[in-house]
Symmetry: C2
Subunit: 252 residues, 2 copies
Amino acid sequence: MARIFGVVSQKGGVGKTSLVQNLGAELALAGRRVLQVDLDPQSNLTVGWGIDPVEERLTVYDALENPQQTANTIIGLRDNLDLIPADLDLAAAELAYINAIDRNHKLKKALTPVADYYDIIMIDAPPSLGFFTVNSLAAASDILIPLQVHPYAYKAINQLFIIIDQVREINPDLNLFGLILTMWDQRNSLTGAIEQEARRRFEDLVFSNVIPINVRIPEATLEGLSVGEYESSSSGAKAYKALAQEMIHYGA
Amino acid sequence: MARIFGVVSQKGGVGKTSLVQNLGAELALAGRRVLQVDLDPQSNLTVGWGIDPVEERLTVYDALENPQQTANTIIGLRDNLDLIPADLDLAAAELAYINAIDRNHKLKKALTPVADYYDIIMIDAPPSLGFFTVNSLAAASDILIPLQVHPYAYKAINQLFIIIDQVREINPDLNLFGLILTMWDQRNSLTGAIEQEARRRFEDLVFSNVIPINVRIPEATLEGLSVGEYESSSSGAKAYKALAQEMIHYGA
Ligand SMILES: Nc1ncnc2c1ncn2[C@@H]1O[C@H](COP(=O)(O)OP(=O)(O)OP(=O)(O)O)[C@@H](O)[C@H]1O
Ligand SMILES: Nc1ncnc2c1ncn2[C@@H]1O[C@H](COP(=O)(O)OP(=O)(O)OP(=O)(O)O)[C@@H](O)[C@H]1O
Ligand SMILES: [Mg+2]
Ligand SMILES: [Mg+2]
């Protein structure tokens, strides 16, 4: 049975999509069978892999609608690495299921038919605490929180923890796997201050490896590649690779 | 009658809140009577001004509920500069008004009683194209789009333009005032590529002044200050001041 990671933060632009794409790619290179799920109508993860969300294809919305279809939505990206893409139509799901009894379990049901084919499933979600993030957390076994070393992102953690506790009412075994410091910039004092505060408060929940600010990360998305494929010697690529090893060390 | 600017982008972390706070502060210093509205449940604009959203007070939600209350929600920040704060309870508004006939006009109605006291109103909204962004656009006379010089943010423009066109059905005079390049970093090639593409496509809708990457911007929020107050000699502070002058030159 796959370990399912919900990558969540309601703060925008903290590196959720980048984490799913690049950490997932490194875990696949390390031999884990990985499925990435784009649960954001913005479809950045889909775009990041060079797939045009405008083209007609089955998407995660089709899987939510009919779990029997899930296998047909899967795109093979690389060895050991698959994707369930999204498109803008996914935005309609939030209201479509407003009165559905199983509203919060749509994704869990969609993933059940395929979960056994994978070791790791990673779910990208939009910057909000609504339907998509709740579905991700309800489907997940584990949570990964990218924590940008900025004040607003740090302050967002309290509210996120409240939502996580609420979701534990329907998913009691939901485990916080860890926090990953992102957009880390040793040149500025803010990085140090936020890192120190985060490690003091969350202790060993914060991974040792941080993701530094590195322009190769957004550049790689223009090519539809992971940053490791785009430039393996870059600080960003090395960081995700090291993080993957740390994740594996802790049981991923 | 105030000119009402909706500052919008569904891409997260592109500098919406920073733009409202800092550009608004500079416009107030230049003598414009400015009201800032925090229409994001995350309340980052409120926090950025050093106001604790947890404390009991009237917020923008009270103004949405009862426009007669709007004046009572206003906090005086500085000379010529006021704020309507938010708190986390605002998240409930999206569903509370799901069947309201005037669902999209709640903010417009809330601002009408106070609009004449101001020259400029600036509205911060969350990273989505839902209720809050639509309300901002429906209340606005003008739109400002912060455009982070990254691929995902650039790709988000198409969808944003579609929503703007839709809102023009209920707000026909809605004017796109301009796009502001943010997190501009002359050290990396991506900045140049995205800037060139944006200026080619949107021409003089893109302001000449850009907002550079500058750590003083997030640092200032820790102190509840605008970046101009925090460190007026910083590149960030100078950029917002120059941008304010450019806005005034174009009629703000
Ligand atoms: N460590 C990094 N260094 C430099 N740029 C980065 C880094 N991580 C991510 N980025 C870039 O910053 C932007 C924001 O990252 P990303 O889109 O992954 O965040 P997100 O949390 O998924 O955003 P959203 O909230 O909009 O979904 C993207 O353009 C991405 O390529
Ligand atoms: N030019 C800049 N240089 C460095 N940091 C910046 C700059 N502009 C904004 N920031 C910081 O980057 C983060 C994202 O900016 P901000 O919160 O203003 O974006 P946003 O679009 O409002 O995000 P959200 O989508 O979450 O509402 C914040 O921590 C902010 O302080
Ligand atoms: Mg994302
Ligand atoms: Mg914001």
